[in-house]
């Protein structure tokens, strides 16, 4: 983003919108800077006002009331607070259901509960990465404390049938958490229509600053805190608020609400251009659902090529994309993506996955340039590969 290369990894993080930066600056060093929202003096009151205005913007983005929005340090904290907090608030219920394709934040929190004696059911997915409502219905038990299924997948971009899944849980009286970190600002989310209990969002995935996010908690749903202290955020998330970050998040949420339709159409156009170009190469396949997918996500398996080398090769050619499956830094070598494995892909395929995610400011020229570089990188790496025989 700063070295002049073309950035096509918006699922990892998005560049800060200039308008968001301008909204933040007064709170970083300008006239409004320095107040603690909890203080009684004027500076404190100013900070409080700014935080509450941002809360209203974030609430509007997902159709919530401001009192149902609790600021956090980001998506990971929101997911942890929801999973651990919902479980802790339901004594005696020792069963948790999560999908097999959740972000590591949810998977990790669920594994933590498992280590504390909870039963964890991990719902499988179909070849497109979707959870089946029937499978969820079968998994629910009398002692189920919560269900967590993400709104849209961070790797392969598949959108889950959240309305149906959340509705089912509502009928059974089981809290439902949705990780909407990738979906927020990209897909219309309206919690007044979709009966989720909690929903996690993150600022830096929608052109806001890093280090801030929010958890929506439906009124009446009990969530126990996991951080203790001064009782900020209604006692659910103690700690002095990240005022500038929250203001930026508010601005980013407002812009996302206003521009969502345009952004989605723009991204979809580029996504289809990307897909057509990439799939025209032999041995390249799309992962995830063809239509029920994020507007900006293209996730590919490239036969005969290992993801890390492809990503670094493209980086050297001036294009930043994500590897679908990070090569873990352990002496044991690689770790295949659990998402692709859950979708029934083999390990060799999981090692060959790359993720290209466009953004609202990506251009046609960038995508076309990328396709040229991609084709060149793939053919050179295949020439190197002892496993790929060009036919």
């Amino acid at each position: 983003m700063t070295d002049g290369s073309v950035y096509l990894d918006h699922a990892a993080t998005t560049p800060l919108d200039r308008r968001v930066l301008e909204a933040m600056l007064p709170h970083l060093g300008g006239a409004a800077a320095g107040g603690n929202p909890s203080s009684l003096h004027g500076a404190g009151a100013g900070a409080r006002e700014a935080v509450e205005a941002a809360r209203a913007e974030v609430a509007a983005l997902v159709g919530a009331r401001p009192a149902e929005i609790f600021f956090t340090s980001g998506g990971t904290e929101g997911d942890n607070l929801a999973v651990l907090g919902l479980a802790a608030a339901r004594r005696g219920k020792r069963h948790v259901v999560v999908s097999a394709v959740e972000h590591a934040a949810v998977r990790g929190a669920a594994a933590h509960l498992e280590s504390r004696g909870y039963d964890v059911t991990r719902l499988g997915v179909d070849a497109d990465g979707r959870v089946s409502p029937d499978a969820l219905a079968d998994a629910l038990r009398q002692d189920t404390a919560l269900v967590a299924v993400m709104w849209a997948n961070n790797e392969v971009g598949t959108v889950q049938p959240v309305a149906e899944l959340a509705g089912l849980c509502e009928e059974r009286g089981v809290p439902f958490h949705a990780d909407a970190v990738q979906a927020a600002g990209r897909l219309p989310i309206d919690v007044s229509r979709v009966p989720v209990s909690t929903l996690a969002v993150s600022s830096h995935k929608l052109y806001g600053p890093q280090g801030v996010g929010a958890l929506y908690v439906r009124e009446g749903v009990e969530v126990a805190p996991i951080v203790f202290g001064g009782g900020q955020e209604g006692g659910l998330r103690s700690g002095t608020e990240n005022v500038a970050g929250i203001v930026g998040f508010g601005a980013a949420a407002r812009l996302a609400s206003e521009e969502m339709g345009y952004r989605a159409r723009h991204e979809e156009g580029l996504r289809e251009l990307l897909l057509r170009g990439a799939l025209a190469l032999p041995g390249v396949r799309l992962n995830g659902h063809r239509s029920e997918r994020l507007s900006n996500n293209v996730h590919l398996c490239v036969d005969g090529v290992e993801a890390e080398s492809l990503v670094l090769f493209l980086d050297a050619l001036g294009y930043a994309v994500g590897s679908g499956s990070a090569c873990a830094s352990s002496s044991a070598g690689h770790k295949a993506s659990p998402v692709l494995l859950a979708m029934g892909r083999g390990e060799d395929e999981a090692f060959s996955a790359v993720r290209v995610t466009v953004g609202k400011d990506s251009t046609r020229g960038e995508v076309e340039g990328f396709l040229g570089a991609f084709s060149a990188a793939v053919s050179q790496l295949r020439e190197l590969s002892p496993l790929y025989a060009s036919s």
Binding site: G304, E308, D315, E347, D348, E383, L384, P386
Partner: protein, 490 residues
């Protein structure tokens, strides 16, 4: 350790050198596995011990691609000895410094692929020689101080290589692939052991080679091992290996490299007698391996050096520690190397159908039944499965009739032993004592020549539980006069 790649890595990634496969290659090697995410393949053309051409291919992360490229540059047009000396550290240097954490395996992977290609070259050069046995035996005691050291990854062979290097020899290490040992097992010669032996050699700055002797080992050692049990003999696989495999293969490599001598980490000495090179017991009596070394052909012994014969085991460990060799703390290998779990009966039963038979006493009276002669060896007391007032011992195994003969301990007493398959270093007349067990004591003996070039040793004291198939080794003081195999009847 950095968490990002050096620019040199990215340069090799984007502009890899020597990509492809050589036409008319003299060796091909592959390492890795698609399901692990990394595969490297090298092809080499070697002529007159120079790497004339090298090409590589890699499927894997940037580190693997770059390491393969850098390695191909380092060995291109190098002498084979220099190519075999290139270490992970050399590779890292060529790549601009340490790789990110967790990426070091890339160095091991591409080195292994190259070394397997060189191994393939040797095996093609050898043709049937490393299957049938290497016959080109020569003493190799010319003036050049050059030596091939057989290394296993253990402390003894590593110190052997070190001592030879410090004695001013040009050293090349070789590790043999003898069988498909289980990965990571603590016995010798498993795949991880090869990597470890290579790394140890490289840390000493020495070239390292591997030779694939699986067919030869299977034919000369494992088949004999299994067959012996089926025939009621007690085999010693280390003896068969020393007779036909290890020293021959090391000599083959020495001849190919134009090297004079061969060294191993055995505890024994080679001494000059008027008759020529002779084997003698080592300084460390507790580690004496002459009992399994007797079949080494005399021509090969003449070019062999056992530097550890002059040292005690504690000294060897101390040398390894002082020089910082990582092998210093490896455990002693005790088991039969191709049976890491020690269950040799189970191993034999996999290859030989065991037929039930009779347990009889010396008068032929049936005492019970057994599940197969392979479960019995002469001198055995446990697991006979027959109740008796005094302890019963196996005194004889008769595979032809399927009978196992049992008796009292006194029935095991032997006062004469017929020995065949002899290998002499000194005139047989010089034999003053004979040893019939690995950890046994030599007993005085008098030699009588028998027909077929065999001998009968009249023992000055009774020996218990002598089994056909065991080695009988003759000594004159601490010198090995010769050795042979105990025959069934005297």
């Amino acid at each position: 350790m950095p968490d990002r790649y050096n620019p040199q890595v990215i340069d090799h990634l984007v502009r890899p050198r020597n990509v492809g496969e050589l036409e008319g290659a003299s060796g091909t090697g592959e390492s890795g596995d698609a399901s692990c995410g990394d595969v490297a393949r090298f092809t080499v053309r070697i002529a007159e011990n120079r790497v004339e051409g090298v090409r590589y291919k890699v499927y894997g992360c940037a580190a693997c691609i770059a390491a393969g490229s850098a390695l191909s540059e380092l060995v291109s047009d190098a002498s084979l000895l220099d190519a075999a000396r290139v270490s992970g550290v050399d590779l890292e240097e060529a790549l601009g410094g340490p790789l990110p954490a967790g990426k070091e395996h890339a160095l091991t992977l591409v080195l292994d692929a190259l070394h397997k290609a060189i191994e393939d070259h040797w095996n093609r050069e050898a043709g049937e020689m490393l299957v049938e046995g290497y016959g080109g035996l020569r003493a190799g005691t010319g003036g050049k101080k050059t030596v091939v050291v057989a290394t296993s990854g253990g402390v003894d062979s590593a110190v052997t290589a070190l001592l030879m290097k410090e004695a001013g020899y040009e050293v090349a290490c070789v590790t043999f692939r003898l069988h498909d040992g289980e990965r990571g097992s603590r016995s010798c010669c498993s795949p991880d052991t090869v990597l470890f032996a290579r790394d140890t050699a490289h840390r000493m700055g020495l070239p390292h080679f591997t030779l694939n002797l699986k067919e030869l080992f299977d034919r000369r050692v494992m088949e004999d091992f299994v067959g012996s049990y089926a025939e009621g003999r007690t085999p010693n696989p280390c003896v068969s290996c020393n007779a036909h495999v290890k020293f021959h293969a090391a000599s083959f490599l020495a001849d190919k490299l134009g090297f004079e001598r061969v060294a191993t980490g055995h505890y024994a000495r080679v001494v000059e007698e008027p008759e020529g090179a002779t084997m003698a017991r080592p300084v460390d009596e507790a580690k004496d391996q002459t009992y399994v070394l007797w079949p080494v052909p005399r021509e090969l012994l003449a070019r062999t050096i056992f530097p550890l014969g002059e040292h005690r085991k504690e000294e060897v460990r101390r040398i390894a520690e002082d020089r910082g060799l990582a092998v210093a703390y490896t455990p002693e290998s005790q088991d039969i190397c191709f049976i890491p779990d020690g269950d040799y009966r189970g191993f034999v039963r996999k290859s030989v159908a065991a037929e039930p038979g009779e347990i009889v006493d010396r008068e032929g009276r049936a005492l019970g039944r057994h599940k197969g002669v392979v479960d019995f060896t002469v001198g055995q007391r446990r697991g006979i499965g027959v109740a008796a007032p005094t302890p019963l011992y196996v005194t004889e195994v008769r595979p032809k009739t399927g009978q196992v003969v049992v008796g009292k301990k006194a029935d095991l007493e032997t006062r004469e032993v017929r020995v065949g398959g002899l290998n002499w270093f000194l005139p047989p007349e010089r034999a003053g004592s004979v040893q019939i067990r690995y950890n046994g004591r030599p007993v005085p003996c008098e030699m009588e020549h028998a027909e077929g070039g065999e001998v009968v040793a009249h023992l000055g004291a009774p020996v218990f539980g002598v089994a056909p198939g065991q080695s009988a080794v003759f000594y004159d003081g601490d010198k090995v006069v010769g050795g042979g195999v105990v025959r069934r009847d005297t």
